[in-house]
């Protein structure tokens, strides 16, 4: 579904990604891992077209998307929960959710249309948002903002969601709920690319793991292989 | 050698139209003489004062120091005039006003290096005051912007008008909307209104005066409010409104007829008094230089030559007072539509005959 091959990117003269290749199949969940500053968020930004790539190719659902403006990439069916939440501070919770909402497209390739995420469904998933629906984005607590960012991405009814540290700052209970929710989304056929520091939880939902080290893919393989090799964590994720 | 003349005018900002008339009037005279004045090839250096006194000062200094001009002509506004007069006089350069005539330069502050080819500021206002008095108006409302010229204007009007002043309204400089003031006027029910509202303010006022239905009921006496710079904008709205001036396009002298015709032919619009005054300023220099045979170094001689006013003014009889401001006739003028559809001010009656200003007495020059 999403395929990066040999992607290079950076900020100004400062190259951060040196040939990243990875793929997320339809309905698959992939965990992108790595220590702070290894280029995980940069990869996400490059996929979304928020950062120009200096080399390589990216395609989504078979079509090349590299070089397209972000809105066209999003419209192709990618939903983003960005690092740092970035909820709209001057919009109410409800407005945050509906401002960029889109109905699900009729499934391509003869697949049935996935059930629509609606306001009601989001409120059911994250009841806290319903309680705060008239609050402005800026008046939410950190965790509430995080929930809102997730809800907002789902409201675009994507075929692939990218979650960049989506559980940062969430209380343990809520975090658990989010994981459960991701599992359900996966079962409903949604593809997921997830970045998170909770490796154990990731291992429960991810089909495959990709580890970044200094802008390069240092290891990738399926989750069983990841679990089987505790040395991986020591090498790439701890000091 | 060449005659160099600096022309300071306001050519940008909302009041640029006045400056344009002034400049065009002067240039027309030079052009008609084949680019010469007094037989000498004349180079006219036009500068825009931007209606900023400090800009005007630096540009005036540049005219003297860099361009070494023999005369400076122009200046639409009094505050600019006040600012440039001193540095010019210090450098012994003659300044010939084609419009502004502040009292500071007419009275105690008069200077051998300052001539006015126009009028003293109060005079046009006095015309209306005298007219209102003669006409027997009992109660008038006065209105002017809240700045020095505005206050001087109302003072000028009251010099000859002795009736009741129902209200004295000061408006904001650059004011757009006069509905509040017009409502006050309507409520006061005066015999006439006198106003001084130059530039765009005047356009707004005239339009709104007409729209408020006052134009047909309360006579509108004004100075620098309806003239050929604003008539293209107000058009019919100004029809029948009065103003005071020492000149109008239809003034019946052969010189004036020729001037207006030539001006309209050259520039395609009807000249206003600024153009006529600037034209006269050019004729004045023309005559003086001719009389001197081109020798401009003897400042006393130049001054004497200028003072003779040995030229045919488009205003008819014209001479200088002791303060080097003019003595001339003043008229009540009225807005009319010409057969060709254009609007102009036309002379309604003569209010003053060969009139000098009141400040001349305070001027130490004899």
């Amino acid at each position: 579904m999403l395929e990066l091959s040999d992607v290079a990117a950076g900020y100004g003269g400062n190259q951060v990604l040196f040939g990243v290749s990875l793929r997320v199949g339809a309905g698959e969940a992939v965990a992108l891992m790595g220590r702070n500053g290894m280029g995980k968020s940069t990869t996400v930004k490059t996929v979304m077209g928020l950062l120009p790539a200096s080399g390589g190719a990216i395609s989504f659902a078979g079509r090349p998307i590299l070089g397209l403006p972000p809105y066209r990439i999003a419209n192709a069916g990618i939903g983003l929960v960005p690092e740092g939440r970035r909820v709209f501070p001057t919009l109410s919770v409800r407005e945050n959710l509906i401002a960029t909402a889109r109905a699900a497209e009729a499934g391509r390739d003869g697949q049935p249309k996935a059930p629509d995420w609606t306001l009601a469904a989001i409120y059911e998933l994250l009841p806290r948002l319903a309680e705060r629906q008239r609050h402005l984005g800026s008046q939410l607590s950190g965790g509430e903002q995080q929930m809102l960012a997730i809800g907002r991405a789902l409201m675009t009814n994507p075929r692939l969601v990218i979650l960049d540290e989506a559980t940062e700052g969430l209380a343990p209970l809520i975090r658990a709920e989010i994981w459960a929710c991701l599992e359900r989304l996966k079962q409903a056929g949604l593809a997921i690319l997830v970045i998170d520091k909770h490796a154990d939880a990731l291992a429960r939902i991810a089909d495959r793991h990709v580890i970044l080290e200094k802008g390069r893919v240092a290891w990738s393989g399926d989750t069983n292989a990841f679990r089987a090799d505790p040395g991986l964590k020591d090498r790439f994720l701890h000091v | 050698d060449e005659l160099k003349i600096g022309l300071i005018s306001t050519l940008s900002g909302p009041s640029a139209a006045l400056g344009q008339h002034l400049r065009d009037g002067f240039l027309l005279a030079v052009k008609q003489r084949g680019g010469k004045l007094g037989g000498e090839a004349a180079e006219v250096i036009v500068v825009d004062d931007e209606l900023k006194p400090d800009v005007a000062v630096t540009k005036a200094k540049a005219l003297v120091d860099r361009d070494k001009v023999d005369f400076v002509v122009g200046v639409v506004f009094s505050n600019v005039m006040n600012a440039v007069a001193k540095p010019l006089a210090e450098s012994k350069t003659f300044l010939i006003s084609a419009n502004a005539g502040p009292s500071t330069l007419a009275g105690e502050g008069c200077s051998p290096y300052v001539f006015s080819a126009s009028y003293q500021n109060d005079q046009n206002h006095e015309v209306l005051g005298k007219y209102a008095q003669d006409k027997g108006y009992k109660k008038v409302v006065l209105m002017a912007p809240n700045y020095q010229a505005g206050k001087d204007s109302l003072a000028g009007f009251k010099r000859h008008y002795k009736g009741e002043v129902a209200e004295e309204i000061y408006t904001q400089l650059g004011q757009l909307d006069f509905s509040a003031e017009l409502a006050r006027i309507a409520a006061a029910e005066p015999d006439a209104v006198f106003t001084f509202m130059p530039g765009g303010m005047g356009v707004n006022l005239v339009k709104q005066y007409r729209q408020a239905g006052l134009a047909d009921t309360v006579p509108f006496l004004s100075a620098f409010t309806v003239d050929e710079t604003t008539l293209p904008a107000t058009q019919g709205a100004a029809l029948g409104l009065y103003s005071g001036a020492a000149w109008a396009p239809n003034l019946d002298t052969p010189e004036n007829k020729a001037f207006v015709a030539a001006f309209e032919k050259e520039y395609g619009y009807v000249p206003a008094l600024y153009a006529a005054q600037a034209y006269d300023a050019a004729l004045m220099i023309d005559a003086a230089v001719k009389g001197l045979g081109g020798k401009l170094d003897d400042k006393e001689a130049v001054r004497a030559a200028l003072k003779k006013a040995d030229f045919k003014s488009v205003r008819g009889a014209f001479s200088f007072n002791t303060n080097q401001f003019p003595i001339q006739d003043f008229y009540l003028v009225k807005v009319a539509k010409r057969p060709d559809g254009k609007f102009e001010t036309e002379i309604a009656e003569t209010v003053f005959k060969q009139y000098g200003d009141v400040y001349a007495a305070k001027c130490p020059m004899k």
Partner: protein, 255 residues
């Protein structure tokens, strides 16, 4: 309760704090003590009012009622910068750094606040050896010394958090209030941060707001649980871990 808290007066006392936003009660009669040298964790669900409470302690948010005492002195109405001079330092949930300043300058700025008057107009501050030494010491303590000259805006997320901490501790505060210092840190960085905080614990009391339970249980001497603006439980980690109400409201299966 730890022995230390019995011996000396608390560095921070909150007495019945109340704060409303419209009809929403964000702090609802909060009572809380932090003893000298103690690491006191404040946990609770999202939106419970933890950050708001920190805002009240720091003086950015005015309480509707209740009292705040720092080192036994009532500071309820005092303005934020005055409280800093009484030994309070805080970090922000979302990092707030002077992006154009180097890491060193950021820390030196904080050091400067407590080093006499800053209405000094002549001596170049960059060459102020005293300030720089103090700042370097704080950077060393948080493991950022090598990055001292990098503009703060260009640091990685984890480094920014470390810098926040350095800025808080450079003032040698009596009490540090830290809002989710582990947020956004990887496992490794979290471990490092835990180590730093443990070292600091001797020097200053810490009020720690954090959702990383691993860190909380590794560090805290005492834990208070805030739910909907109320402290529902307060006590040593083991007691909190066992508390069913806390599990239901916040912890869930974790820890």
């Amino acid at each position: 309760m730890s022995l230390a808290s019995c011996a000396a007066p608390p560095v921070l006392q909150l007495q019945g704090l109340v704060k409303h936003y419209g009809r929403l009660r964000v702090s609802d009669d909060v009572w809380l003590d932090v003893a000298p040298g103690e690491i006191h964790a404040l946990i609770g669900p999202n939106g419970a009012g933890k950050t708001t409470l920190i805002g009240q302690i720091a003086g950015e948010i005015l309480s509707d009622s209740g009292r705040i005492l720092l080192g036994g002195v009532d500071v309820t109405g005092e303005r934020p910068h005055r409280r800093v001079h009484r030994g309070l330092a805080r970090s922000f949930q979302i990092t707030r750094l002077i992006g154009g300043f180097s890491a060193l300058e950021n820390v030196a700025l904080c050091a400067q606040a407590l080093d006499g008057s800053s209405f000094r107009f002549l001596a170049p501050v960059r060459r102020d050896a005293g300030l720089n030494a103090t700042a370097i010491a704080a950077l060393v303590e948080t493991g950022l010394a090598e990055r001292a000259d990098i503009p703060a805006g260009r640091l990685s997320h984890g480094e920014k958090r470390q810098l926040e901490l350095a800025m808080a501790l450079v003032a040698s505060p009596k009490l540090m209030v830290l809002d989710e210092p582990m947020a956004g840190l990887g496992k490794a960085e979290t471990q490092a941060m835990i180590a730093v905080l443990r070292r600091l614990a001797g020097q200053a009391a810490i009020l720690l707001v954090e959702h990383d339970m691993h860190a909380v249980f590794a560090l805290a001497d005492r834990i208070s649980v805030l739910v909907e603006g109320r402290i529902i439980a307060s006590g040593p980690p083991d007691a909190i871990r066992a508390d069913t109400a806390v599990r239901a409201a916040y912890l869930g299966e974790e820890a």
